[in-house]
């Protein structure tokens, strides 16, 4: 963690007459909260940008008497939360989007759900709002009932103003929301000439099911269950982030053994998802051998999950205060064996994949996300790391158990599909090594800490490294142990816009493999 970067930013802000009081005691440790005046909101982002802070997310919170907007920034493992307070009846705020590309859609999300107007926003179009609720009605305001007041039938969203390209031989391809495979729904609008993509526009929000709203009023166990379903393939990641945020709000230290158990579950999730993606990438370029081999290895690990932990995808295994499952010495031994076995298999597959020229032909130079673009966006996880971005929460802002382990973060610099394929492969190997270390170093002790009801208004923030990248989470408790605000941020929210850029100039038939190489979560984005 670097205190200097924070001090330097605060001096810069002060030099511009931007008031930046930090709350004492700190409201959201280990992040620092700076209270910023609404009129300085844009300037604060501009200053942070010039100091190379990464923009990580924004959320609003209707506290009843006022509305806060919080932007999360990160620099060298230090998390900073800019907070401003608005009057609910005329909520308006300078936008961060002119300075940070990544702020574009999250701000529009808040605009649709909270009715906060962002001045100087480059794109005033609605984003998460289709037709499920009326314009001028904002579901995340407290007075809006979770049940809503819905019409018999939700009309389809036909009038979204897509950007149109015009010219000789330019044509448009609309795809989705129902896709041709077993995949989540979303809409893609291509403008193309011949086979070349001129422009791609994403239209998401189809799986918006009101997670942030229905979290309100839940108890900690209920929130952990809901968090585990923000994105089905990241159930461990989101449940961990939500539990960590709740534990910080309640001032609970989890036992070290629980942290190790969570680490094991998270690394297993990483290994299984990377195996699946490696197979799916092979499948998308017609290399069935890879698809079946990786699918076979994944299924073996899923079955082990069932045997060791009672659930194939590990849902509901992380609970507030600790973990629901434990590991016996016999289980640890069995897991060591399967780690060794998987390593041998991966060694064998490595040479086969490397020697396959047809694979190389489709992967190399397809869908390039340049290092500059990735840095400008703040791309996360394997998408960022394939384009030279080295950030990894486990290493750069470590939390137990990773603060006791050596986390290696493989990177590539070419930014193409091939880089994203091989970064996944290397992350998978690193995950196996971590799993071994976690099993070796597992301390004795309890696996759950006793829950303590947090004070009314208690807030908690967490940043953990899910398999797709950094997951952020914010919670605020009301009275009686009930959640009043839950904000999860999946890394997909940051990475989805990257797909629009990296597909440009590629051929339309390469879209599936480019899309898969980014593999954004729709559910985690739409919430």
């Amino acid at each position: 963690m670097s205190v200097e970067s924070l001090t330097s930013l605060r001096l810069k802000l002060a030099a511009q007459d931007i008031d930046n009081r930090s709350s004492v005691p700190c409201a959201l440790p280990p992040a620092t909260v700076l209270q910023i005046d609404a009129r300085d909101w844009g300037k604060a982002a501009e200053t942070a940008k010039s100091e190379h802070w990464r923009w990580a997310g924004v959320w609003a919170d209707d506290r009843g008497f006022d509305l806060t907007v919080n932007a999360c920034l990160e620099h060298r493992g230090t998390y900073l939360i800019l907070r401003t307070t608005l009057a609910p009846e005329r909520a308006s705020l300078p936008s961060h989007a002119p300075y940070y590309w990544a702020a574009d859609r999250p701000e529009r999300h808040i605009q649709d759900l909270f009715g906060v107007r962002f001045e100087d926003h480059p794109d005033p179009r609605r984003w998460i709002r289709h037709r499920a609720w009326d314009e001028g009605v904002h579901p995340l305001r407290k007075e809006f009932p979770a049940a809503g007041s819905n019409a018999e039938e939700t009309p389809p969203d036909r009038d979204y103003p897509f950007l149109k390209a015009q010219g000789a031989s330019v044509y448009e391809i609309p795809v989705g929301p129902v896709h041709a495979g077993i995949i989540e729904p979303g809409h893609f609008r291509f403008q193309a000439v011949g086979e070349t993509v001129l422009h791609l526009e994403e239209r998401l929000g189809y799986v918006h099911k009101g997670i942030e709203k229905i979290a309100e009023g839940r108890d900690p166990d209920g929130l952990a269950r809901l968090a585990g379903r923000v994105s089905g393939d990241t159930t461990v990641g989101h449940a961990w982030a939500a539990c960590m945020a709740m534990e910080r709000a309640a001032g609970i230290e989890i036992p070290l053994r629980a942290a190790y158990l969570r680490g094991i579950l998270a690394e297993r999730e990483r290994v299984i998802n990377h195996l699946w993606d490696l197979g799916a990438l092979c499948n998308d370029v017609g290399f069935a051998f890879g698809y079946y081999q990786f699918g076979r290895l994944r299924e073996q690990w899923l079955r082990e999950n069932q045997v060791h932990f009672g659930h194939r995808l590990l849902m509901d295994r992380i609970v507030p205060g600790g973990a629901r499952v434990d590991i016996t010495p016999a289980t640890a031994k069995a897991m060591h064996r399967s780690i060794t076995a998987l390593r041998v298999e991966l060694d064998e597959l490595l040479t086969l994949l490397d020697a396959n020229s047809s694979l190389e032909d489709r992967f190399l130079n397809a869908g390039i996300l340049s290092t500059e673009l990735a840095a400008a966006l703040g791309a996360l996880g394997f998408v960022g790391r394939a384009s030279g971005q080295t950030f990894d929460t486990r290493r750069d802002a470590p939390y137990p158990p990773y603060d006791r382990l050596k986390v290696s973060v493989p990177t590539e610099s070419q930014g193409d599909v091939s880089s994203r394929f091989w970064v996944r492969y290397k992350e998978l190997r690193a995950g196996l090594r971590l799993l071994g270390d976690l099993l070796e170093g597992m301390p004795e002790g309890e696996r759950v800490a006793r829950w303590q009801v947090p004070a009314e208004g208690a807030e908690g923030f967490a940043a953990i490294e899910g398999w797709r990248g950094e997951i952020l989470c914010f919670v605020r408790f009301g009275s009686d142990n009930a959640i009043r605000r839950y904000w999860p941020r999946d890394p997909s929210v940051i990475n989805w816009p990257a797909l629009e850029k990296l597909i440009l100039g590629n051929i339309v038939p390469d879209f599936p493999v480019c899309n898969k190489s980014v593999n954004g979560s729709y559910s985690g984005h739409d919430l």
């Binding site: 289709h130 037709r131 499920a132 609720w133 809006f144 009932p145 979770a146 049940a147 809503g148 039938e153 939700t154 389809p156 969203d157 929301p177 129902v178 041709a180 495979g181 077993i182 995949i183 989540e184 729904p185 189809y206 799986v207 918006h208 099911k209 009101g210 709203k213 229905i214 269950r225 809901l226 379903r229 923000v230 994105s231 089905g232 393939d233 159930t235 699946w276 051998f289 079946y292 081999q293 699918g295 076979r296 994944r298 299924e299 079955r303 069932q306 045997v307 194939r312 995808l313 849902m315 069995a334 064998e348 597959l349 040479t351 086969l352 020697a355 396959n356 979560s521 729709y522 559910s523």
Partner: protein
């Protein structure tokens, strides 16, 4: 290339000779034998009722993607659902069965109805997962219609969060058995 063939031969056919998990304490439904039995029974029905070919169009109407992962698993080498005559198709126009997951988000309501309308009769709908069966963790809200049956007629619900590939196979069998 020779290496690749070598790996294929060494891997062998996992589908027909499903290895037993040596671990004790796993429930009977998770053992491997039922896959063969359920699958074979399913094949008999598919052969008889669908001339050996049952086409499924999967529609995610708002799920968290957990159900999709398990539906995908039906295609891996262990389950290899195609050997029973069951296959997933790209268009509702090619489908006998719609396999719908998720609580139906309000933003997917119209798309799901249209997909249903585009599927030729006779057609059957399977609601997959707790969410599809009853709304699950999400229920009905300003953004969610809840269970699939709240939007289109459902012939069978396969509960589970998410249902295992075996549960999905058993669901298919019980649907086909009823026809």
């Amino acid at each position: 290339m020779l290496q690749l063939y070598g790996k294929i031969f060494k891997t062998g056919v996992l589908t027909e000779k499903v290895p037993k998990l040596a671990k004790p304490g796993i429930s009977a439904t998770e053992r491997e034998e039922p896959i063969e039995q359920v699958g074979q029974a399913l094949k008999v029905v598919v052969d008889k009722r669908f001339r050996g070919s049952l086409a499924i169009r999967q529609v995610d109407a708002g799920s968290c993607n957990g159900c999709e992962l398990e539906i995908h698993a039906l295609n891996n080498v262990y389950y290899d659902v195609e050997r029973f005559g069951v296959h997933f198709v790209a268009s509702p126009r090619h489908a006998d069965v719609l396999m719908v997951t998720g609580p139906v988000s309000r933003h997917m309501e119209a798309a799901l109805k249209r997909t249903y309308a585009a599927t030729a009769d006779p057609k059957w709908v399977i609601a997959v997962g707790d969410c599809g069966a009853c709304g699950g963790e999400f229920g009905v809200s300003y953004a969610s219609c809840g269970a699939v049956s709240n939007v289109i007629p459902v012939d069978l619900a396969v509960p589970g969060c998410p249902p295992t590939p075996l549960a999905l196979l058993q669901g298919l069998l019980s649907l086909c058995g009823r026809l």
